[in-house]
Every structure is written in C-alpha cells, then in structure tokens.
C-alpha cells in the first residue's frame, strides 16, 4: 500500500515536469523585463534617458515582462492540462483537452456563484482573482492540480467506456470531455464553499506573524515557503508588501504603507541613511537560500543521481539552479523535490524561515522587485552600498547556507532513498516483458472467461497480418483505418469474425468498418498491442484457420558437438529480452545475449575472422571457425554517433583469436551523448542451430563462457 501511494506520488511529481520546464524561461523574461521597466529602478540608476516609456528598448523589455508574466498568470491552466497529460494512461491528447475543459468549467461555476452572491465586493478582500477573463477564487496552481488529477482519474476510468448502440458515437474517448464538464461543474460549486475557509486560515496566520518579533519573521518565512506549492504565497505576502500590514512610515513628508513601497520610497529618497529593516524583514530573507541554499541543494541532487542519468539531470538542475540564483524563481527547483520528498520540503521551509529571521537580526535592508535573485541583490543591495543595506550578511549567511543545504539534502536523499531526479526506478515503468511474463499472461487469458475483448483484438490483429505487419492504426467515425506493410497478409474472414461489417482495401491501406463504437475498438486494440501476448496471436487463438505464409523449416541443422562463445566484455550480463531496443529484444536479428560493459573494450568471443567492421565503428561482424555468424553491436542506436567515441583495432578479413581486442570506446562519452552502452552479441544465423542458449549471468569477465549452441 505504501509503495502504491509512493508510486502514484512519484507519477504526480513527474507529471508536473511538463509545465515546470517552461518556468525558467518565463522567469528570466519576467525578471529582466520587469526590473528594467520598473520606474523606481529606472530613476534610481538614471536610466530614464535610455529606457523611456514608449521607446524601443522599453517596449522590448515590456514585451519580455508581459510574455513571461502570462505564463505565471496561467500556471493553473498549464497544470490542469499538464497533470492530466502526465497522469493519463492512454490517449493523452484527450486528457489534455479535458483538463482545459475541466478548468474552464470549474472556474466558471465559481464565477457564476460569486456574482450570484453579490459580486467580488461581497467576497473577502484579496480572495478573488481573474483567470482567463473569468472572475474566480484565488486558488493558484492548486486549482489547476485539482483539475488535472481529477480529470486524469476520470479519463483513465472512462476512456474505453461502451455506451448503448444509439449513443455509441459518444462512447470511448469522446465520453471523457463530456463527463469532465459535468463533474467539474459540481466541483466548482463545492469549491465556492470550501475554498474561502482555506483562505480564511491564511489570513489569520498573517496577523499572527505581524504581532511577533524575530520569531514572527521566522514563522512568516516558513509560511511563505509552505504556501508555494498551493500558489497561495502571493495572497500571503502581498498584504505585507503592499498594505499597512507591512508597516507605515513617513518618508520625505509623505505617508508610505507596505514593506515594498517603503523600501522603494527610501530608495528614491536622498535622505535615506539606512533602509528600514522593519520593512525589509519581509523580503531580505529570500536572498541567502535562493542564491546559495537552493542551488547547493540542486548540486546535492545532481551528486545523488545515478551516473547514467547525470547528464540529463544535470541540465535540468543547472537551469533551475541558475534561475533561482539570478531571478529568485525557485519553483522549478522546489517542485523537483517537493513531491518526491515532502519531508525535504519541510526542512527547506524551516531553513528558509530561519534565513528571514537571520536577515532581520543582522539588520539587512535589501528589498526586491518580486523575488530574491542575484539581479535584485545587485540592484538593491550591492549598488546601494553596505552602509545602507548590510548586504554583506547575505553573502556570509548564504555561504553557510550553501554548505548546510548541500549536506542536509545529500544526506537525506541517500539515507532515505528519495527518488529525486535521476534516481527514479524507471526500470519499473519501462519494463520489457520477459517470456516468463508472457507465459503467465497467456495462462491468465485462457483461464479467464472475461477475455472476450482480448479475443476481439487478437482476431483483428491476426486478420491484419500480425503485429509486424501494422505500420499505423487510426480510426474515423465508423472505420478502423490501418496501414499495413503487406496487404496480402490481411484476412478479411478473421476481421469479420471480430465483428466488422465490411473491409475495404486500398493499396496498403485497409479500412475495417465497425460502426460508431470504433473508437473503443481502437483503444482496445492499442492496449492489446502493448501487451506481450500480441506478439504471439497465433498461439493465443489456437487453431483458428491458419494459412499464414509459413517459412520452410530448415533441416540441415549443424550436427555434432556444442559451439561455445565467451564473454565479449567485462561487465554485467543483460538477457537479450531486457535490452532496451526492440530490434534486439524481439530477437528479429537472432538469439544472443548482451553485456552492460564496465570498461570501454570489446573483445573477440571466439577464434575466427572479421567479416566486416561497420563504417560507423560501433558494430562488427565476425564469423567463427565453426561458421557461426556473430554480430557485436556496441550500445543502442549508436549508429547515430557516426563513429565518434569508437576506435577499431582490427580490419575486414583479419584472422582473430578469442580475447583479441576488437574495438575500444569511450563509455562516458557515449552515455553523456545520451546513448546506452548495452552491447548485444547476436547469432545472425540462429536458424542454422537447433538451440542457442545464453548461459552467462550476472557479473562476467572476458573469456568466461556466455553462449552455448548446438
């Protein structure tokens, strides 16, 4: 049960990645754009002559700011769609559409209730917002996530639904947007009553903080961080920044209210000798953990990632860390560990709160436009001078924070095995079925009466000439539209047996007419194609008329004693079925075995002769003394490297002996380029032998027996 919840949470977290990947770019646009269009900033640095409102530079910066901002403004919608896509099992595009519909319907329901109850004025202050032009409750990203998760659940439950014949047009995937709109109408009504309670709690917390000193600043910091996942932090800090809650002060003869307003008024005033810490206590605390702490945490996550994932994860984390450092947009980083390791986020909140308190104690008076990145630190701290701001404390505390974050995160990740990026158990998700699984399934299918669906799909598949004959499957209103490689293999009789009312042939195209429920038929067929038994429809269907072109059995099997081949590398044996490339795992090329190498050297598995070294140096063909044809293929898809990272030590036609070095290669380089180094050894003329048996297992060294053939 615990594993199941963990698995779901992990998938939820991963589904956030699609929209989150957009945030760093949007953050940079917004950060740079808004800093240099802020009138106070422009005046402070005498840039008003260069960046003038209406001028070209100003307009460009303004466009940057606004296009960046639109992403943040609509983050909830992006999450509604992104999470639905991520959590949907199949037909993801339908889930995306449904996510958008769910989000619109929910907010519109709330909006209608708001106006029915007297409009925005009747609601609590700061509790409403406008999203996509709809006046609705301020729910932040949380609103989108509610939609995304719910829609995905509806989608996974209903995308294959079968309705009565008269309504069958609305069945299958078409039913998902329909049911979504109705469900979210109800959810919207419910949220109208539930959400204000949540918001009320937030408002009370704010009051509490204000009445306390250093400890209050600490709590403020913790709450501000803890609200990030809900998107409610803006609701929380804005009153401090913009209203009397954050203090009031006479500056140059005018009353200024709100922490941020006070800071910028002081910035503009020539009389300021030191910035008021009573105002900046709500801001300065961001700098140490955003510029130093979180990037160190990112580094810890990078260090804890599995070696083969480091390249990919490094890119993701580096861009997120830079975004946090420069602009103070922390969500990309925080969201990467929030969902897989909530406890780490709790620790982060406490440390962040502490950072606010320390800045308060040390009298640091650095404000910000919208967050605590290096850009704001430079503009409002360093350039103002240490006497006015005490900014040096940010760096001092920050350096300590970097160390603390690094060690705390690294310790927690490794100690508790958190699945931060690059540590996911992806072998579970991308599992390749072994023969054992397939047999188990076959038994399950034949044992079960309710296997009618699989039978229909199996009939269709067989009727279309088997899995290998399909190149594309789609459907229109009533027909399954299939493209096959060889139309002669299509058997109309079988297709009709599966329930089709007709079959139309057009070259390689085949249309099988089922009627309006065809979208269900298609989904079922696609599901079936993903299962292991679809590789073997003949066995599944038993004796159902079988005239598929049979290949002539070869009888001239090599007789006599067993041929032995020896490990071609040092490393760990990978059964061919587990190699992550269908060309090998499906055994189209022949039987064999693979090794995940521990060093970049490929050795001869037997005595014989080099038949051909590939131009791209990633593979080599050998013929053994006994006439066995062997393909050694370093890595998966490495033909695309065009020879880079490989060095050959033999040439075509050369005699070789068992254990000779054939090719050396740069394992790190290949992995860093995004390729796997799993190296299959394939017996190309498998048909010439009565059995090819992989005998090696586990960790293996060159020269140990790995394959036995008869």
């Amino acid at each position: 049960m615990k594993d199941k919840i963990f698995g779901v949470l992990q998938r939820v977290g991963r589904s956030f990645m699609l929209p989150i990947a957009l945030l760093p770019v949007a953050g940079l646009l917004l950060g740079i754009g808004s800093s240099f269009t802020n009138p106070t900033t422009l005046e402070t640095y005498n840039l008003t002559n260069i960046i003038k409102e209406g001028g070209l530079l100003y307009t460009i910066l303004d466009i940057m700011s606004k296009t960046g901002n639109i992403v943040f403004d609509n983050l909830a919608l992006l999450f509604a769609m992104g999470v639905a896509i991520g959590m949907a099992k199949k037909e993801k595009e339908v889930a995306a559409l449904s996510g958008a519909i769910g989000y619109l319907v929910m907010n519109t329901a709330i909006s209608a209730l708001i106006s029915a109850k007297g409009g925005v004025e009747a609601m609590a202050a700061n509790s409403t917002t406008t999203s996509l032009g709809i006046t609705t409750l301020q729910m932040g990203v949380f609103g989108g996530i509610i939609v995304g998760l719910g829609v995905a659940a509806l989608h996974n439950r209903f995308y294959k639904i079968q309705l009565p014949q008269v309504l069958s047009f609305f069945g299958g995937t078409r039913f998902v947007p329909i049911v979504t709109s109705i469900v979210y109408l109800v959810v919207g009504i419910a949220m109208f009553y539930i959400w204000p309670v949540v918001q009320g709690g937030i408002a009370q917390l704010g009051q509490l903080v204000l009445e306390s000193g250093y400890a209050g600043t600490w709590i403020y910091g913790i709450i501000e961080r803890a609200l990030i996942p809900f998107g409610l932090h803006h609701v929380f800090y804005m009153p401090f920044w913009q209203t009397e809650l954050g203090g009031a002060m006479m500056i140059d003869g005018a009353l200024v209210q709100g922490a941020q307003n006070i800071f910028f008024a002081e910035l503009a005033s020539k009389a300021t000798e030191q910035f008021s810490v009573s105002a900046t206590r709500f801001m300065s605390g961001k700098f140490p953990f955003m510029i130093f702490g979180l990037p160190a945490a990112a580094f810890a996550m990078y260090r804890a990632a599995r070696p083969e994932k480091k390249k990919v994860v490094g890119g993701l984390l580096l861009s997120a860390a830079l975004t946090s450092m420069l602009t103070g947009i922390t969500e990309p980083l925080e969201f990467t560990f929030l969902f897989v390791a909530p406890v780490m986020y709790v620790v982060h909140c406490i440390l962040a709160g502490l950072s606010y308190m320390l800045m308060h104690i040390f009298g640091v008076g650095v404000g910000m436009t919208f967050s605590g990145g290096a850009i704001d630190l430079t503009l409002f701290g360093v350039l103002q001078g240490n006497q006015k701001t005490n900014w040096i404390w940010i760096v001092l505390v920050g350096l300590v924070y970097a160390v603390v974050y690094y060690f705390v995160f690294y310790f927690m990740i490794t100690k508790f095995g958190y699945k931060t990026p690059g540590r996911e158990a992806d072998d579970e998700e991308t599992k390749l079925y072994t023969r054992k699984d397939m047999n188990a399934r076959k038994e399950a299918v034949s044992a079960k009466d309710g296997a009618a669906f699989d039978r229909v799909s199996a009939l269709i598949l067989k009727g279309l000439g088997g899995k290998s004959n399909l190149s594309d499957v789609d459907c229109c209103a009533t027909r399954l539209r299939v493209t096959v490689s060889n139309p002669d293999l299509v058997q109309d009789g079988l297709l009709k047996e599966s329930g089709a009312s007709g079959v139309i042939h057009k070259g390689n195209g085949v249309q099988v007419i089922y009627g309006p429920h065809v979208s269900v038929v298609k989904s079922q067929l696609e599901d079936f194609l993903d299962t292991a038994e679809s590789d073997n429809v003949d066995a599944l269907l038993g004796e159902t008329n079988c005239e598929a072109p049979k290949q002539e059995e070869k009888t001239n099997k090599t007789e006599g004693k067993a041929i032995e081949l020896y490990a071609h590398m040092n490393g760990t044996v990978v059964p061919l079925e587990k190699v992550e490339d269908e060309a090998f795992s499906s055994k189209v090329l022949g039987e064999g075995i693979a090794i995940e190498p521990s060093e970049g050297k490929l050795y001869a598995p037997c005595n014989g002769k080099v038949d051909m070294v590939f131009d791209t140096k990633h593979a080599i063909n050998l013929v053994s003394e006994e006439g066995c044809e062997i393909l050694l293929h370093i890595g998966i898809d490495t033909v695309k490297l065009g020879g880079k990272f490989f060095e050959t030590h033999v040439s075509d036609g050369q005699e070789i002996h068992k254990g000779d070095l054939l090719i050396s290669f740069d394992t790190e380089g290949i992995r860093n380029a995004g390729f796997k180094t799993t190296t299959p050894m394939i017996i190309c003329n498998t048909d010439d032998y009565s059995s090819v048996e992989a005998v090696g297992t586990g960790v293996i060294a060159t020269g140990e027996k790995i394959i036995e053939m008869k």
Binding site: N486, A583, V588, L589, A619, K640
Partner: protein, 85 residues
C-alpha cells in the same frame, strides 16, 4: 524472374536494425531474393551478408526475385523498402 532497382533514402542506410527486418521479410517468401550493390550479390535472407554490403543512403541496390511466389515476394519486398528505407 523479376528485378527492380531501389535507391536508399534512409539516412543511416542498411545498418543492423533494418537489415534484420529486411532479412525477416525476405524469409517469409519461398522465392529466392537477392540484393546486389555494385559487384556484390547477397541473399536477402542472410542477415550477416546483408549488413556486409554496407549499403548507405543514396546507394542504389538491385533486388532480384526468383521462384514460385515471385509476384507477392516482389511486391512485399518493394513495399518494405519503400516504407522503411
């Protein structure tokens, strides 16, 4: 006996994976199918020999089909090449 020429369009040429698929396709027919590139002629069902041709993008190969089901085999191989290479 039927023959046709075909120019490879796949940018990676006939490397391990397509060679395996081609050999598998060729095995489905009774006819003897051979592939010729330059002066070398090999059996299309022989995976190793097929890879040994080292066919690249832009190379033209000659396919020869000879046997009982040569009509279907001819179409089958042609379709395969057009769809995959």
């Amino acid at each position: 006996m039927k023959t046709f020429e075909y120019t490879i369009k796949d940018e990676l040429g006939i490397h391990a994976r397509p060679a395996g698929m081609l050999a598998k396709t060729a095995k489905e027919f009774d006819s003897e199918i051979t592939i010729t590139k330059g002066e070398k002629t090999v059996g299309a069902a022989k995976l190793m020999a097929l890879m040994g041709l080292g066919v690249k993008c832009g190379d033209t190969i000659t396919v020869t089909v000879n046997g009982g089901d040569e009509e279907t085999a001819f179409e089958g191989i042609k379709t395969f090449l057009e769809n995959n290479l």
